[in-house]
């Protein structure tokens, strides 16, 4: 089995992987980074989005063995070491952008990539960008609100009362 070394969340990390092992599987099974989730087998759901060399990638679409030397960012590296949430994570909590939490790691990583490309997206641009991330719980309302808020834009109050 090939041995690969990646920089994951700022740390050099090595693992032996089969040629057929996907990055999503390698992260979860070999490196015990179980924050990256697997919700489908057709690269549709987006629960496994991570950043590879700074770009959002569905980690189920790429073989780990191709990634020797790559920089990988996952959900586990987003908050401060003391647990303080980053701006996007905090906005998700503030605007009820998650319920069961399963799609959340992929949503947060996609949102981070969006705001890096487009720091002040319109609501339509947010919805369009999230086309590759499925959430079954929230109806996306809290997620869209959270991303708008994280970009410093006004969103309507979330509580109806």
């Amino acid at each position: 089995m090939p041995k690969i070394t990646m920089n994951i969340n700022g740390r050099e990390t090595s693992a032996e992987v089969e040629n057929r092992t996907l990055l999503s599987t390698a992260l979860r099974e070999k490196l015990h980074l179980t924050g990256t989730h697997i919700g489908c087998d057709t690269s549709q759901c987006g629960a496994c989005v991570v950043h590879v060399n700074g770009k959002a990638v569905k980690s189920c679409t790429i073989f780990a063995s191709e990634l020797d030397g790559a920089n990988i960012d996952t959900i586990e590296g987003q908050a401060s070491p003391d647990g303080t949430l980053n701006v996007i994570q905090q906005a998700f909590q503030d605007h009820h952008g998650l319920q069961c939490g399963f799609c959340t790691p992929g949503m947060v990583m996609s949102a981070a990539a969006l705001l890096k490309e487009n720091p002040k997206p319109t609501e339509a641009e947010v919805r369009d960008y999230l086309e590759g991330n499925i959430c079954r719980c929230t109806g996306y309302q809290g997620i869209v609100n959270a991303i708008m808020a994280a970009s410093g834009q006004d969103v309507p109050s979330i509580a109806a009362e």
Binding site: H37, C45, E76, N133
Partner: protein, 788 residues
């Protein structure tokens, strides 16, 4: 009152772990020495198993064990939780649902063998080496053919594909028939409530463990109700004593009904763990979710509405065929009957209601409760036929509903479908809807759409549902095989902070945040000092779990009752500390005082005294401060709502765009409005998905055509409008202590008829003679309806 009590939009504490990748879902657990399980699943919908040869698979690298249906012939079947009696008095047909298919496979995805290996890859490779000789038979997937018995029998031994033929209420049948025969106007509508695949984003997963040293089993699994799963596995399927089986449902990534049920994979990993003496793990692929999770809805219905010429309702008569798939899943028999037929009077003072439901076996995946469970089917049929009737009579759809609404001074109201609604105010909801959805501005918006070449329509809906199911005595008479109470233990620790063990399970609903709000409100303590423990049968009291929007109304009420007991005992301790009688003590904001004096003692000091009982009335009072309550509801709760949606139809393509979606709901007392808003928004998305996008389709040979997320259209962010949710028009539930009714399913119930009504409205206003389009209202269907 402390900050963050009942009514506060408290941010969720569980978010921290989910947002940082520290949630622990079943597949995130890999106990030491874990082995991996994979299943061989039928590729045909109906077939006789001639032989299953696992000998080659057993010789594959890493393979530890193989299983076939033969290995489970001696153990029990997975039962239906509710016994339904047909109109002729015959009990329903209950063919055995084995752990692994034996003799026949009955749907694509039916598991007939399993392999356990050192690695998942080895298990998957070995499944490929299983040699199965399965003689394919004609499949029956269409309910009408299945009822006619024209093709194959799904279960040869019962000699019919009709599980039951149920009437509700049988005593109303003749009067309803007569009323319809004599009515001045009758509107008839035939419709299909499309099959849905729940698609909780976390696929099901199960880990079985067995300790040969103690004989203890442990099942970690994706369940909405770990005690119910334990009961089914113990009492019906494997016969493991309940005291030797712990079921742990850790973080669960959504359920929507599909994770209520006990599934065969859970039994298999437990049996395999016992055989191998090591943990056995199985995680579904999404493909397996599509093929082997319980699906939802799938009714074919004819509904008739009889009324006066002025629109006063006289009778509703419904005939439905409900698909139960190849096997009876645990709630599959109650869903199309008591969760559907009892709601067929809707929000209305109609005097005659009769419902006939035939449950039909087909060579498809089992169908069971999915978000709303029977109530979306009831509301959809009713609210569609009412809209059609209004159009036929030239009455405004708002007015025909208002004319027949139960009025707010009529509660409690005995509906013609057998329920007693305790509270509601449908007119006020409709008043609110007219304002929030700006009905007055619709014509201007329609003109604007017309300028852009689009047909705009406005659809409305009113619904009432029954949640918090319901008195155990009553449901027992109606055929339930379980009680439907829930339980909570409130444990005040010596230092005054509190652990609450609950029977409900949180998989997105935010119980860890909302339940402490109740306890904090009652005890006058900081909500952050209250923690919820759920999902582990070794820690929590026996509870029935989370489904049917019951958690707050039933389990929350148990939390409330247990907390009352804490206050009662703590008052006695405080009375001793204050040297007075309990009846002279009052408790406010966390402080016990002698009435009319400033002599007092705080809750924390009382808690400490309970655990360090020096100078304590030990003859009269046990030490400690821990109480359990089992709460059995006196009635269902009856959330209701009024919804509106505006849509634009592109006449060139038939594409429907939702311009607005407004939901006004009466949930009674709301504990956490932020969470409740989120629940409604999620329900709306699932309802919009049903109305516009989602469809579980089998072909004639029983292949699931929409069997992946490439083929089954899930709502995405760009399919949905901004959702407007308002739950400020509330009437209290009169019979539970919190006054709450339940909010989880509302959005999925109210939105599908709203959208279809809006689409039909748009086409009608555009001059098209269209009175119905079946869901999903796809561009091709809309275009075909416009161009017929």
């Amino acid at each position: 009152m402390p900050d963050g009590g009942i009514g506060a939009p408290t941010k969720r504490r569980e978010d921290t772990r989910f947002l940082t990748g520290r949630g622990k879902y079943t597949d995130d657990f890999t106990p030491q020495n874990t082995s991996y399980c994979a299943f061989a699943r039928s590729q045909v919908a109906n077939g006789v198993i001639k032989s299953v040869d696992t000998s080659a698979a057993a010789e594959m690298p890493g393979v530890l064990a193989t299983f076939t249906g033969e290995d489970f012939v001696e153990v029990g079947g997975n039962p239906a939780g509710w016994a339904i009696v047909s109109r002729d008095g015959e009990p329903m047909k209950e063919p055995k649902r084995p752990v692994l298919a034996h003799g026949k496979v009955r749907h694509v995805g039916d598991a007939y063998a399993a392999v356990v290996a050192e690695t998942l890859e080895q298990a998957l490779d070995a499944v490929e080496a299983i040699e199965a000789d399965i003689d394919e038979q004609d499949a029956v997937t269409d309910m009408a053919s299945a009822v006619a018995g024209a093709g194959s029998m799904v279960h040869d031994e019962i000699e019919t594909n009709v599980c039951f033929d149920w009437g509700w209420i049988e005593d109303n049948r003749a009067a309803t028939d007569e009323a319809i025969k004599n009515a001045p106007h009758v509107t008839t509508l035939e419709l299909i409530n499309n099959r849905l695949v729940p698609n909780a984003l976390e696929p099901r997963a199960s880990i079985g463990e067995y300790d040969p040293g103690t004989g203890d089993y442990k099942l970690t699994t994706t369940s909405q109700n770990p005690h119910l799963s334990r009961l089914l596995i113990a009492a019906f399927v494997l016969g493991i004593p309940e005291n030797k089986l712990t079921v742990l449902a850790p973080d669960v990534g959504g359920g929507f009904g599909s994770k209520i049920y006990h599934y065969s994979e859970e039994a298999l990993v437990l049996a395999a763990a016992k055989k191998l003496g090591r943990p056995v793990k199985w995680t579904a692929t999404r493909t397996e979710s599509f093929l082997a999770d319980a699906h939802g809805r799938d009714h074919v219905t004819k509904i008739e509405l009889a009324c006066e010429k002025d629109g006063t309702f006289i009778a509703f008569r419904t005939e439905t065929m409900a698909n139960v798939g190849a096997y009876l899943s645990n709630f599959s028999t109650v869903t199309p009957t008591f969760l559907h037929g009892t709601l067929m009077a809707g929000n209305y003072t109609v005097p005659n209601v009769y419902v006939n439901v035939k449950a039909v076996f087909t060579n498809t995946a089992p169908v069971d409760a999915y978000r709303g469970a029977g109530r979306p089917e009831a509301t959809y049929s009713l609210e569609r036929v009412i809209d059609k009737c209004a159009r036929e009579l030239g009455i405004d759809p708002v007015e025909i509903r208002r004319k027949n609404f139960i009025k707010k001074d009529q509660y409690p109201y005995a509906s013609a479908a057998g329920l007693e609604y305790d509270s509601g105010d449908y007119d006020t909801l409709m008043d609110g809807l007219e304002k929030v959805a700006d009905f007055a501005g619709f014509e201007a918006r329609r003109a604007e759409s017309a300028k852009n070449g689009k047909l705009r329509g406005l659809g409305i809906n009113a619904y009432v549902e029954a949640c918090g199911i319901a008195p155990s005595n009553l449901v027992g008479i109606l055929g339930a095989r379980v009680g439907l109470y829930d339980a909570a233990t409130v444990r005040v620790n010596p230092t005054g902070n509190i652990s609450v063990m609950v029977g409900a399970h949180s998989h997105g609903q935010g119980h860890e945040t909302a339940f402490p709000q109740i306890v904090a409100d009652m005890l006058g303590v900081d909500p952050q000092s209250v923690d919820i423990v759920h999902g582990d049968t070794s820690k929590i009291p026996f509870g029935m779990g989370t489904y049917g929007s019951r958690s707050l109304a039933v389990c929350g009420s148990a939390v409330f009752r247990a907390t009352e007991k804490i206050i009662f005992k703590a008052t006695a301790i405080a009375a001793h500390m204050l040297e007075d009688k309990p009846e002279n003590i009052e408790f406010n904001d966390g402080v016990f005082s002698i009435k009319g004096t400033n002599k007092n003692v705080g809750f924390g000091d009382v808690a400490l005294k309970a655990y360090i009982p020096h100078d304590y009335p030990i003859e009269d009072l046990e030490p400690g401060l821990e109480e359990t309550a089992f709460y059995d509801p006196a009635n269902f709760t009856y959330p209701s709502g009024a919804y509106a949606s505006e849509v634009e139809v592109d006449p060139e393509t038939g594409k429907v765009t939702i311009c607005s979606m407004v939901a006004l709901d009466d949930f009674g007392v709301v504990v956490n409005p932020m969470i409740v808003t989120g629940q409604v928004e999620g329900g709306l998305a699932q309802g919009i998905g049903q109305a516009l996008l989602e469809n579980g389709v089998y072909d004639d040979t029983g292949q699931l055509l929409s069997g992946s997320l490439m083929d089954y259209a899930m709502p995405r962010a760009d399919d949905l409008p901004n959702l407007v949710v308002d739950h400020s028009h509330a009437t209290r539930c009169t019979h539970n202590p919190i006054g709450s009714k339940g909010c989880g399913e509302a959005g999925a119930i109210g939105s599908p008829p709203t959208i279809v009504n809006a689409v039909v409205d748009a086409l009608s206003r555009g001059g098209h003679d269209v009175d119905h389009i079946d869901m999903p209202v796809s561009p091709s269907r809309v275009w075909a309806a416009m161009n017929k």
